[in-house]
Symmetry: C2
Subunit: 161 residues, 2 copies
DNA sequence: GTACACCCTTACGTAAACGTAAGGGTTCGA
DNA sequence: TCGAACCCTTACGTTTACGTAAGGGTGTAC
């Protein structure tokens, strides 16, 4: 029997960690949660297939989307418990569809925030040349900004308690 | 001395909670962290000025931007410790400026994710009519999708371990 | 003057995603 | 065969932003 040298084809946990930018502890955790299932060397070392890199990157992507690791586990279970491809795919589709909605909501919120930040920065720029110099307690009641209304909410909120 | 009726001009903690959509506990927490400083009734009730609503909403906004409550506290301290408006404003400006960068990074990431989700959904749609029906284990190796490469990462990752 | 809603403080509980430390084996090249 | 580097399990610690419960006052409308 020609047993291939394991160390040539498999990754140890530290290797996987390095290739994915995760810590060893994180990878252990993923396994505890059922997201990874390495084989073991006779000495007990975890041995990962090269595909595990993809799996970890996939996990990262779902995390970026706002899924918790527990969500991801449920996700995999749904998959493994579906017997036919169409039903599994439909479930996955539903989950992704909902997440797309959420992602787009978040995008809208952040876009608004980005604009508010820009406005606030513009406002604050005119503070640099405040003359005569005010104390910060006096701030917010000067006419240096050419703003018809008042300061942007992000700035105004600092002084309001 | 004409003492105004407190209950007419001030909010109790429950009132503030209702007007901001926060819980009483959350508002207590904000106070513990130094983000709010209500006066007290003779019986010990917290009494909030109407402006406290703005302050809480401001806190919410900063949270949305990814600031922790501790960050926000530091933020306020910087403000209160600056004696002149220009120096305080400059510090605030720097913080906002950094956060704008982060926000825009996040926007870029989420935009990409949104696109990936759409691609994945399109891909999964062609699974609905899988014929002959495959088991989910067989899935990922059929030619029904007209994709030259393989499944989108978000889909492909499910089956790779 | 009493009921009922609301408030007080204190303090422990919770969930997520790991960090960190202890005590001890495993690999593998030299 | 030895040592350095790496791995194992177990298990407690950490942070954030509150939740929740206990035991007991307060406010106010009737």
């Amino acid at each position: 029997m020609d047993v291939p040298a394991l160390h040539l084809s498999y990754l140890k946990v530290g290797d996987l960690a390095r290739r994915t930018g995760k810590t060893v502890r994180a990878i252990h955790l993923y396994e505890e949660l059922g997201l990874l299932a390495p084989i073991r060397s006779k000495g007990g070392y975890r041995l990962y297939h090269a595909r595990a890199v993809d799996r970890v990157e996939w996990i990262q992507k779902l995390q970026d989307m706002g899924f918790s690791l527990t969500d991801i586990k449920a996700f995999l279970q749904v998959w493994e418990q579906s017997s036919t491809a169409p039903s599994a795919m439909q479930t996955v589709r539903d989950i992704f569809s909902e997440k797309l909605r959420e992602t787009n909501d978040t995008l809208a919120r952040l876009t608004k925030l980005s604009r508010e930040l820009e406005e606030s920065l513009a406002y604050l720029d005119s503070c640099k040349s405040c003359e005569p110099v005010h104390t910060q307690q006096q701030c917010g009641c000067c006419d240096m900004h050419g703003h018809e209304g008042h300061a942007p909410l992000l700035v105004d909120g600092i002084t309001r308690h």
